[in-house]
């Protein structure tokens, strides 16, 4: 294994951090979605900690840089989309460095990020709500 899974762990720490400020700018179904997304990222983090146990885990940082200040609902939705796209890209990269159960873990994580990003685009009325190659960084 190279650095892909530790990078995924760092991305999960960052996603968990981001959903704090995101959640407080949302209400109703959107806030519920933020809570569910944060819980999903916590589960991914916990699973990764188990996977990487004893291999030198990267520590969580006290804070992470967000793509933009989360000053209102619109910004919260944009940041949520960005968080899921960034985490998805890291998990996509992990597919090439894994086999078997670890690859399945990476694929499920990529898929989860992609589906959550789709839901956030729907809330934000971004058209289209899907992207062609989830996790692929535009060249």
């Amino acid at each position: 294994m190279t650095g892909e899974l530790p990078a995924a762990l760092a991305a999960e720490y960052a996603a968990i951090f981001a959903y704090g400020p995101i959640g407080v700018r949302l209400t109703g179904a959107e806030q519920d979605a933020a809570r569910a997304a944060e819980a999903a990222h916590r589960s991914l983090r916990d699973a990764l900690v188990l996977t990487l146990n004893g291999t030198g885990l990267p520590p969580a940082a006290p804070a992470y840089r967000l793509p933009e200040p989360v000053v209102d609902r619109a910004a919260a939705l944009r940041v949520a989309i960005a968080v899921e796209e960034k985490a998805g890209a890291v998990w996509r990269a992990a597919l090439t460095a894994t086999v078997g159960a670890q690859r399945r873990q990476a694929l499920d994580a990529l898929t989860g990020c992609a589906v959550r990003a789709t839901r956030w685009r729907r809330f934000a009325k971004v058209d289209p709500i899907t992207v062609t190659f989830p996790g692929k960084i535009p060249s």
Binding site: R92, T96, V99, L107, C113, V115, T130, F133, P134, G135
Partner: protein
């Protein structure tokens, strides 16, 4: 009408010198051929539904375009010719209410998602990212159909 995979298989078998096999022993098909063929069929089905139900075109057309892009990218990494939408059309007559058609798309997409998962898990490292991305895309299509 032949599907994309069948056309590719025929093309590959028609070539000579591939791995020095005899004329009666065609090379094994690329394991990603079924995924590419399926992407072509899904693209056609979504496009037909978008044409028949214009009020759903904003949702269905981007998904059709995504499946087309998936088929072309799969063809690229298999080093085969890109599929043509016409060559992928084996869906036959598609009729029914909009609800029926959306449900049929959902069933086909779900089957395609499961197939892409298995293809990703079996893929060599240099193909895993693309195939995994296609699997994830198919999951998002199911979300978009809700």
């Amino acid at each position: 009408m032949l599907g994309f995979g069948a056309v590719l298989l025929a093309g590959a078998a028609g070539g000579c010198g591939l791995l020095d096999r005899g004329p009666d022993e065609p090379p094994p098909p690329d394991p990603l051929l079924p995924l590419a063929d399926e992407a072509g069929r899904l693209a056609v089905s979504y496009r037909l539904a978008a044409t028949d139900f214009p009020d759903r075109a904003a949702t269905l057309t981007p998904i059709a375009e995504a499946h087309d892009a998936h088929a072309k990218e799969l063809a690229r990494i298999m080093a085969t010719a890109a599929p043509s939408p016409a060559g992928s059309a084996s869906a036959g007559a598609e009729t029914g209410t909009v609800e029926d058609r959306i449900e049929a798309l959902r069933v086909a997409e779900k089957a395609g998602y499961q197939a892409a998962i298995q293809a990703c898990l079996a893929a060599p490292a240099h193909r895993a990212a693309l195939v995994g991305s296609i699997a994830a895309a198919r999951a998002t299509h199911l979300e978009a159909l809700k």
